[in-house]
Assembly symmetry: C2
Homo-oligomer: 421 residues x 2
């Protein structure tokens, strides 16, 4: 009985805030979420009385593992002074806070609440890299883990399947990385904020000053091809194909459309909402697309009445460079097998026809997993609300942006379309 998806009551986004993303030895989840919430408060044009917040939805992947503490909905409700308002944690691996956003939308659209705070947090860097890899692997399927796969291995398998099917190569992955690093210096909250060219120059300068042999890199791909500068992790995934370990928080204020003007005269409207689940890789028909992303896209386009051509820019889940290529195909921005060519041709650059990951993406902005889904939507907010500064998409009629969030090895995907009217 599939029916067209719609909401009985419209929902608008009227505020947003995020912490810087980085590895912080001196900040925990409470600190990071407070930082995001303080910024959110200043972002609401007509001001927010926190007493008006009806409920909190919090995405978190596994602080259970990373910091041996669960039940973060209640902890943050307490630390933000929201008690006794309800607080609910959602988890869908790296898509955890996109799920929080979605539940916030449903809670308002249902008529039950009017003003809901949604967001996410993750505190990963207090453990060793080996332990973080073990923690992240909790999100892979039990079958994948039994096969000995951790995340770089999973996406390496996906990449080689894509190469085989469509004749792509590592050179195409490099184009994704170079683009992400080109956008990141324009984002003051990004964890890595150097373009590849800047990194090359710095390394050459250091080699010279230390009297060492100077690398003979000509262009950025020379740098990425150099296994000393960009060592292999799980072939064809090299270091610069992989997002980092990050701590961070992000939050968003959602309200019923009918009361949005109490908060701002310039709300963003939630016009498309989609989510899907996916099978473990061993039973997938084909490794070169994500069934969950396609279902999420179908739901969101269906609800919005929009097509991929209507979306003017997007944040897309680039946990690994190959993931960005698959997703821009699955979301309909480019045809299957054409994504790697689109990136090569510069179509997804900030000044291209379809900018992707203007924030620098997970690769450079950082990927505190539970915060990522909300942070992607905040990039859409900053772009549509003309707050993106030097990384603003150079289109005169910017009106519709979208965010795509993936959890695990494709077990959970969301796609959300926002519109400024």
């Amino acid at each position: 009985m599939y029916k067209k998806r719609k909401l009985g009551r419209g929902v608008a986004m009227v505020g947003a805030g995020m912490s810087s993303f980085d590895m912080f030895s001196d900040k925990d989840s409470k600190d990071l979420f407070a930082e995001a919430f303080v910024e959110l408060n200043t972002s609401v044009d007509k001001g927010l009385d926190p007493a008006d917040i009806d409920a909190l939805y919090l995405g978190n992947f596994t602080n259970d593992f990373f910091v041996r503490q669960s039940h973060w909905g209640a902890i943050l409700s307490d630390s933000l002074g929201l008690v006794p308002k309800p607080a609910t944690r959602t988890e869908g691996a790296c898509a955890s806070s996109a799920l929080a956003f979605r539940e916030g939308v449903f809670a308002i659209a249902s008529g039950f609440y009017d003003v809901v705070l949604v967001g996410g947090v993750e505190d990963m860097s207090k453990r060793s890299t080996e332990e973080v890899a073990e923690g992240l692997a909790l999100a892979a399927s039990p079958y994948e883990r039994k096969a000995g796969l951790t995340f770089p291995g999973v996406f390496a398998a996906i990449a080689t399947a894509y190469f085989e099917k469509y004749g792509a190569s590592r050179e195409h992955l490099m184009n994704v990385t170079i683009k992400s690093h080109a956008n990141a210096p324009l984002n003051p909250k990004a964890q890595f904020n150097l373009a590849i060219r800047d990194m090359m120059d710095a390394k050459v300068k250091r080699a010279k000053s230390q009297g060492r042999a100077v690398p003979d890199w000509i262009d950025e791909k020379d740098f990425l091809r150099d296994a000393r500068a960009n060592p292999p992790i799980a072939w064809p995934m090299h270091l610069f194909d992989c997002c980092p370990i990050s701590d961070g928080a992000a939050c968003i204020l959602l309200v019923a459309e009918e009361i949005a003007n109490r908060f701002t005269d310039d709300p963003l409207h939630v016009v498309g909402l989609g989510q899907g689940s996916g099978r473990a890789l061993h039973s997938a028909d084909d490794l070169t697309y994500f069934e969950a992303t396609r279902h999420a896209a179908k739901e969101a386009y269906d609800m919005s009445g929009l097509t991929p051509e209507d979306v003017q820019f997007a944040e897309v889940h680039d946990c690994f460079s190959i993931a960005e290529i698959l997703h821009i195909e699955d979301l309909g921005f480019f045809k299957p097998g054409e994504g790697h060519k689109a990136v090569e041709e510069g179509l997804t650059r900030l000044d291209g026809p379809m900018p992707v990951n203007t924030s620098g993406g997970l690769k450079c902005k950082g990927h505190p997993v539970g915060a990522t889904g909300a942070a992607q939507l905040i990039e859409v907010w900053e772009q549509l609300r003309d707050k993106a500064g030097r990384r603003g998409v150079p289109k005169s009629d910017l009106r519709i942006g979208a965010a795509h969030n993936l959890g695990g090895t494709g077990g959970t995907c969301t796609f959300t379309i926002l519109e400024r009217r």
Copy 2:
């Protein structure tokens, strides 16, 4: 801007299923949830085509910790054949699946979905008792844990505060335990299914057959006072004041009221829905009530237009015997300080005016934490739908029942009222 809570679209419960609750060395979360889902399928009067399920909401506390696997929404979507339908995990410690129920209600009430499967699972027994205690402590507040408290200690502190304020004693806690054990033999899925009297008789018989000294217990309280039979855990909490370690799963089918008749002519209606959050104990005004429970109750009564007097029986979160006493006060069934007297007078017995925990409660039915909230609502379903057999509440006009679920040390509470019309 507090307003009366209401849903824009009614939601009905039309099916339910649960696994047995126990410690299973040979069943994992997939097995347990499948067992529950198979029973759910047989419970839908006019049948269910699983293809009609739009989405899954799954409560799980921390299989992350217990079995080193997260992302259970996606895993169960796959194992149940629901892919690519969306699957979302909710977590609120021991209230995790009451949150799943609530999000399922919102998803339907929002107009987005029509048919949603909600439920919960927990697989706790694969680890040692010490590790389970450590895992459960993830749900306490960071402050409580730093003070060295695990759950029996927290509820011991609550009990002594209650004793001090209202002049109650351990003898009153025993009345709760005796009642739970009286109901449990009538529940074929309960983990412990012996009344205290039966246990006494069995122990006396064994002592005689082994030629050992025969205990001189006269009544059930003699047994519970005997530290060999009922050793202290954290005074005044003894073994029989504490719920067990359990594995289990429970699931419920929710549909839009307007299509309920496709599934049954006898749906239950979700008439009251409430949730609250609470502070850590160190900053609570008073240990003898739960602020989160009171907020949840207020929301649910407010939405339903009902009062505590209208609720004819309830499942109440008795992780420890003292918790049941506090909750029946916080929910308005009895006045503050009167709960322990009400239990003593038999008012909460199966044949009393306000039966509480007819299932045997968490104490005897078992407490697989992520499954408990859904399982409580299933007890309400079985009672209202005349499926409770010998433990059926002996009232001729049974129409309204409720379930209360608590997470952590009161960080998350829910209260849900169901009505048969």
